[in-house]
Point group: C2
């Protein structure tokens, strides 16, 4: 890794050409670029990505773009939280060197004809619940890769299907980008940080950690030896059901050989929140392992 | 442009990693890369792209990959002409510095989940006639862009819709690639060079130039002042109909303000051939122009 460039101030760019030219310069100087794509309203989850990128890359480029392609017609595109001034100082303090904040017109000067689609193997939950959402993510991430030219790109584990989609497009389309996933950052009461938490009233904010408690209940169920996905899913959905102000979208346990993954999505007021947890499980009974020796 | 690197021999690569590493080295040295993506069985049309790239770029990378994604189930994937030894010497002689010839397994080690799709504005002819073909092209070209990192990419005008698709994906996905289109190279009798011409028997080869004669007839019709697309299309399809061994797929005239574009596709024996011609037209009657003065 080259000695890290010290910038007096973070550079703010609003145009593709300006942002690209700045990063071309960095790349030509042999510096590695870490990309942190966001939709803004930055919270400590985003900032953990920026900090990680700053540790691992010579230059950190954070992008803020509320991408209309990944919103359904009845979703919250218009009211999605925006806080450019707050984002600017937070990103800079966390170690971002560039902040790219393009307008919609700058990103899509015309109705785009080219789209990236990713077939989700495992009957995606978000894929099914938000048709078109993940393809919108795949398209904008491909575009951000093409215009940034990063070595590494940082994504939060909370959006697990998004992470899988990004990994798939990097593999299948041969982008020279290392996808780095970072742990979900939570409030002390367990609620996963999300820009959409800003929608919550005080009462809703009090109720919202039920998503995480449901994941913990699923985890406890697995740790007690339960291996029926239907039972584990039911434990989670029952727990969400204890909060009358929370409307479940799905609660699902997906088995795996070394770990299970638990997913939950729910509406809390106008906010649609998701969360996920990986739970390590024993691969095989102990005596099978012993038998092999 | 940097002084052109002189290679003793063209470098042949079969792996994504090896090819990418070689081109990373070239890019790090500040050299511009011209990409010539082909399916091999190189003819003088392909070689004109290589020669043009060699004029405009420091380094030329030619790729040969018969991309299964762009073939329909009943098409000629299995029998598509292959001539690696001939291609190798021809590409080298034309000025190619790298030749990338990956296996199908190397390009698609798994069934790809990520695909690039491009909606064709103008009710594409190939798009309609070969469903999935242009999306297969878009996907492999995106992948070749991502793994080559070219400044410019060279395509023949014969495959006009392919060219439009590549331009669309470069624009919409913000690839930092200049798309360079090169004139169709023709045999003395007008037949557009195509690897698929290798399928033609002597009799079929004799009949095949009827596609170009149809385009010329459409051009003559336009030059005589005809402006009804249906009439121009009919002139072309009638001309193709004069060759009993040629089975028309489509003949179509597409009006434009400064030029019309004529398209023709037909089966000649087992070969499905296409051709196209742009015909400049007067934008407006002469007295309108005079009236403006």
């Amino acid at each position: 890794m080259l000695p890290r460039t010290t910038f007096e101030f973070m550079e703010l760019h609003g145009t593709v050409d300006g942002f690209r030219a700045a990063l071309d310069g960095e790349r030509c100087s042999g510096r590695t670029i870490g990309l942190v794509p966001t939709m803004g309203a930055l919270h400590d989850g985003h900032l953990s990505l920026v900090r990680r990128a700053a540790k691992e890359c010579d230059v950190v480029a954070t992008t803020i773009f509320v991408n209309p392609l990944q919103f359904g017609p009845d979703e919250d595109l218009e009211r999605y939280p925006r806080d450019l001034e707050g984002d600017r100082s937070a990103a800079e303090a966390a170690g971002s060197d560039y902040l790219f904040v393009p307008s919609e017109r700058e990103m899509y000067p015309r109705e785009p004809k080219a789209h990236v689609t990713v077939t989700t193997t495992e009957d995606g939950l978000e894929a099914a619940s938000r048709p078109g959402h993940l393809d919108g993510v795949a398209t904008v991430v491909t575009k951000l890769f093409a215009l940034t030219g990063p070595c590494r790109a940082y994504f939060g584990e909370k959006d697990h299907e998004q992470l899988e989609v990004v990994r798939a497009l990097v593999t299948d389309l041969s982008f020279p980008v290392e996808v780095v996933s970072c742990p979900t950052v939570r409030a002390p009461d367990g609620l996963a940080l999300s820009s959409r938490n800003a929608y919550l009233t005080a009462d809703e904010r009090h109720a919202a950690p039920v998503l995480y408690r449901a994941l913990e209940a699923g985890q406890a169920c697995l740790e007690s030896g339960e291996r029926d996905p239907t039972v584990v899913s039911r434990v989670m959905s029952d727990l969400v059901g204890t909060e009358p102000s929370v409307r479940l979208v799905y609660a699902e346990a997906r088995p795996g050989d070394v770990e299970w993954r638990l997913f939950v999505a729910a509406h809390v007021g106008v906010a649609r929140l998701i969360d996920t947890l990986a739970v390590p499980v024993c691969a095989a009974p102990v005596d099978t392992v012993t038998a092999g020796r």
